[in-house]
């Protein structure tokens, strides 16, 4: 039983990391209806830029600031070059455009900083916490706990931003109805830049956490794929859904790997979340917290 809980909590903590990636998707999808496939590439780009500046001998915080500025530049670029010309196009077109953007960002990132794996040290040890293992016998990584704390703080900040600031309310208005938002004088273009900037910020945090854990490398871009089943479970439009979906995916994939994996040869982590999401979709096609759409002819 104790082993079960250890696996479960380990999975939940890993799930927090998935939630962070999914969060970036949800932000952009809510505000602009764009399914941003490039989120994983943005995570990679942000982490690589930070590490690149650090390796040039810069202070950590300065490097983070510069990386954030790079994400801001990317937001402006995306709005100007991809989103604005494609306004009013079908969602699928925009989705494919973000696949193109993914390749663009990956190429630029590797061209600028090189393709080798970089180490990133945030100064948080990835070791079991002593006092937890003494009391309960479970080994929980300090790094995981800090990461969850950061994720929680990020969600809290985002919630405040969305609910209490003028810009945040404008974002929610745009998410609800583009035309109504335009009618009350909200500039769509400005909102899109802002929301891509926020998503870039989330990508930066995600990239730093994941990069510290697994090294900053090209594999970070595959995070986007890990986040997709999370989105499906949680629904594309819900921040709460991204969090809950991430936790479910994290916990279930670890449990499945430990309890089902040995019977079928292991390595089922790669596809289990997808099949889970698929089965879930058959029951509830709009996800846990997604908006139910009514279609008329």
């Amino acid at each position: 039983m104790q082993f079960f809980f250890e696996v479960l909590i380990g999975g939940l903590l890993a799930g927090v990391m998935y939630s962070l990636v999914a969060l970036g998707f949800v932000l952009i999808y809510k505000a602009s209806g764009v399914f941003n496939f490039a989120q994983g590439a943005m995570v990679f780009f942000a982490a690589l830029t930070t590490v690149g500046f650090i390796e040039l001998g810069m202070n950590f915080w300065l490097a983070v600031l510069l990386a954030f500025l790079a994400m801001v530049a990317l937001a402006f670029f995306t709005e100007r070059v991809v989103l604005r010309p494609l306004i009013n196009q079908p969602q699928i077109t925009l989705f494919m455009a973000t696949i193109g953007l993914t390749f663009l960002v990956e190429g630029v990132a590797q061209l600028t900083w090189g393709a080798q794996v970089h180490a990133l040290d945030l100064g948080i040890a990835d070791e079991p916490l002593g006092w937890i293992s003494e009391r309960t016998g479970m080994s929980l990584s300090k790094f995981d706990l800090v990461a969850s704390g950061i994720a929680a703080a990020l969600v809290a900040v985002l919630a405040l931003f969305f609910n209490k600031t003028r810009t945040g309310r404008a974002l929610r208005a745009v998410a609800d109805d583009h035309q109504a938002a335009l009618a009350v004088g909200i500039s769509l273009q400005r909102i899109w830049v802002i929301v891509w900037m926020v998503a870039g910020f989330v990508a930066l945090v995600t990239g730093l956490l994941w990069g510290a854990r697994n090294g900053v490398q090209f594999a970070l871009t595959f995070l986007a794929l890990k986040a997709l089943p999370v989105l499906i479970l949680g629904g594309f439009e819900s921040i709460a859904g991204a969090i809950v979906g991430g936790l479910i995916v994290g916990a279930s994939e670890k449990l499945a790997e430990v309890y089902i994996g040995p019977h079928v040869g292991g390595g089922i982590e790669s596809w289990f979340p997808y099949v889970l999401a698929l089965v879930f979709l058959l029951v509830r096609p709009e996800g846990l917290f997604g908006e139910r759409r009514i279609e008329r002819v």
Binding site: I99, G100, G107, L111, G265, L281, L282
Partner: protein, 368 residues
Amino acid sequence: MFYREAGQFKTRYSEDQQLFPIRQDRVAMAVLLLIAFIGVPLAATTPALARLIDFNYWFNGVLIPFLIFSLAALGLNILTGYAGQLSLGTAAFMAVGAFAAYNLELRVPGLPMLVSFVLAGVVAALVGLLFGLPSLRIKGFYLAVATLAAQFFVIWALTKFAWFSNYSTSGVITAQKIVVFGYTFDTPVKRYLLVLAIVALLALAAKNMVRGAVGRAWMAVRDMDVAAEVMGIPMMKTKLLAFAVSSFYCGVAGALYAFAYLGTVEPAGFELELSFRILFMIIIGGVGSILGSFLGAAFIVLIPIFLDLSATSIERGFALSLPAGLVSNLTLILFGGLIVFFLVVEPLGLARLWQIGKEKLRLWPFPH
């Protein structure tokens, strides 16, 4: 001026409904097929020309992959372009085709090669049907993610269960020799001819499917599925048929990929990246167009070769060595940029440009 249908009167319905109603199209198609089937092999076997051009490279590196990717793109175009169901699992269905053909040849003694190709397509179609089932409930992005499940699951299964690769290490299979009616297709020219014949046949079938009742049902579902259902188009049958036919094409393409192109393949060769590559082919070539599949495949196959060639010639010309990875990264950037460019400027792709070109030829040199 050059491309006018003036004077070509149709007096029967069958004439009006033929595949290429305009005479110039028929002539152009016939010339193209003649060149592909007779001209190219003839040139390759002429010793004088063979000294000038490295035909083995052209067949193995350009023409055969172009034809095979065209077939895969055709399959995806049927599903995504005509039936409107976005799929990110194309490579998985190709993998199913490749491994099915290998296992059929291995385990069924005396099975003719062509039959095993067809059966490989059928196996891929069945897998496609299975993963197409969610399309009845979900659509759009949700469906795209569901097809990702196919992508990861199939590759995992092929890697994990050694039976599929006949217990070879790391799942690598070596395709058997292609023998049809006792005739061995061993040289590049012969393999090219075989692939060309199969692709031409399947392209003809696709062209006929999309202009018939099936294709119209697909397009109705693509344009608005609820309206299509109200009009009495059986949703389940139409969608699943699109998945099955598309997977069949991809499966045959996969079998050819293993047997006629690479020779040895492993499951890891059919990663998500290949799926994306084929998706790019149809975006750049033209979504919902048979011709577009071919144009897109040609484009995607040729661009890296072109970049490689220009990189080496720059290196030679300026006597410097470009850093490793520069070309591959530039290819990434160029691909990404082109995707965005095409979506913005010409969402219907190269096929549409071709159409505009024809329109221009028709009017030239007069403005109207």
